[in-house]
Each structure stands twice: as structure tokens, then as C-alpha cells.
Amino acid sequence: MWQAASAFLKELEVPGAPAAIKVIEPVNDGGERALVERFRDGDRDAFSALYKTHQAAVFRFALYMSGDRERAGEITQEVFVWLVHHPAAFDPERGDLRAFLAGVARQMLRRRRREEQRWLPLEEGAAGAAPPAEISDAEEAADLWKAIASLPERYREAVILCDMEEMSNQQAASVLGCAVGTIWSRLHRAHELLQRKLQGNKVRCSR
């Protein structure tokens, strides 16, 4: 399967943009697979180990997507509580747990946003562009945060998963439920938009 996917990616390679395609390698998840099995059997230590391994990535993804530390914490909690109650939902044959949990977090973020937007005025319903306090003091990082936050959601997701979280295109595709080629094209477009936004910021600052 991996060879087929690699061949598929090679077909997608175009001159000038090869770096956007990451090498896909099978995840060495033998240890994790055993942990998942033990967690399914009700092993507390195994679940704790899985939580410790993946909670930071889930939290970061939720933080990038929501722009709110508290909300990201709530989403992280919801994701793992959901996992506790759906131990059989994750199938190791179909992907790795990291991508699976990111997919669950994405669904929860979307559902929550839908619920909230129903009651918010339109201008407040837009994604929060203000970076967290830990980032706002660094100008370059804050500008990039704002630029990413202002991207359309489908581009933002691709950038966060592939560029910020360093997932492979295959993993991102499984999170977003789309083809690997779609991830590549979204990344390509997202990079163009980011470049333009950041250059625009620099021009404004230099005036």
C-alpha cells in the first residue's frame, strides 16, 4: 500500500514544488499498537501512556484552529473522553492514532463552531486572529499566526497539519478525509496566500 501511495505521490511531483511533498513512511507503531490493545482491554496505564504521547499534538491542533487556549484545552479533554467511551473506534489498520485523534478534534471543533455561530453576530463569528499571549510578543511569529488564522479553513488545516505539526501528506489526508493530491494543492495555494499576506504586512510596516 505504501509503495502504491509513494508511486502516486511521485506522479504528482511537479518541477519547482517537490518540497511540498513529504516522504511517506510506514509509522513504526508496534509499541503503540500494543498500547492500544491494552487500552481496549481496560488497562489504565496504557491509556495514560497514549494520553501523554498524543495530548500535546491534539492540544496544539485545537489551539491553532481555535486561537483560544481554554477552548483548545476543552477540545483536548473532549477528544480523550470520547476515546475512553469509544475504544473500538480507532482501527490501527487504517492509520495512526495521531492522525485519528486530530480528525476527532477537527470534528469537535467544527461542531462547536457551528453551535456557537448560530448565536453570534457575523463579525464575531469569524475565526479569532489574535495570537495567544505567548506569541504576541514576537512580531514575526505573531504576524504568521494572524496570517494563518486568516486563511480559509481548508488551507489553514493543511498548513497546520503539514507545516506546523509536520504530518505527512498522507496523514493529513486521512485527518481531513480527502485525497493526498488535494493536500498538496491546498498547501501550495496556502503558501502563496501566506507569502502574500506577510509581504503585505511588511510593506505596511515600512511605510
Binding site: F80, E134, A138, E140
Partner: protein, 147 residues
Amino acid sequence: MNHPQLGPAMRNLAERVAGIEPPEGLESAVMAEFDRAHRRRPSRMLAMCGALAASLLAGALLLRPTPPEPAPAVDSQTFYPIPYTAPLEPYERVLIVQKQVSISELIAAGFRIPAADPDGTMRADVMVSQDGRPRAIRPVSFERSVQ
């Protein structure tokens, strides 16, 4: 990446974001939920095993060619399950009703009451399950029939 200046900026941002800690208490809340979820499971399993055992027992009793084992001797301390009724589940609510019961009814229900006056009555606490059926009985006092 096709835009070389984006790479370092992204790495810088990723490093800063990695330093942001999730709110406190997250892990303990998640682990508490795990514990809650797994505390419930054994009781469900026990209930299922209990139901299975009860069904097997009921089946075995029904298929038995010989008369049932004699019911325990009656005293005034214990509730005695009414023979051939399904045992109560641990979560089932019951209602205790005190009423006058005829001894002949009890004998007909499968109780063995030695040397009792079959025409007499008994004041008894009757345990009624959620479905309205009597499940167990506790004698309070005997009353002889008026000859």
C-alpha cells in the same frame, strides 16, 4: 516548500506554540473519566452474568422431572424468594407491601410450610418488583383459621 522565507518563520512559530501548556487539570479530568467508565463496566458484566445464571437456573428447574427442592423453613427474619420467579437485578427497585396471605396460596406457590394450617393465613411483607410481580415474602405472623 516553495517559499523559502516561510520555513524558518513556521519553525519559529511552531517552537513557540509547543511551549504553550494546556490548562491544568486536563490529565486528571481525562483519567477520572477513564476510571468512571471502567468502574461501571464490571457491574454491567456482573448484571449480565447474573441474568445469564438466572436464565440457566430457571431453565434447569423447568426441565427437571423431579419436584423442586423444599423451600427453606419459614422464620420471621428473612425474605424468601418466591419459587420459580426470576431473581431481582441489583439495580431493580422494589416495593414492600404488608398483607394477609393465605397459607394455601403459599403452598401453591411452591413453599413448603410443615405443620401449618392450610386454611390459615399469614401476615407477611411481600416484596414486589418493578413489574408489579411478587418476588419474595417475609412472614410477620401466623393466624389460624377459625374452626
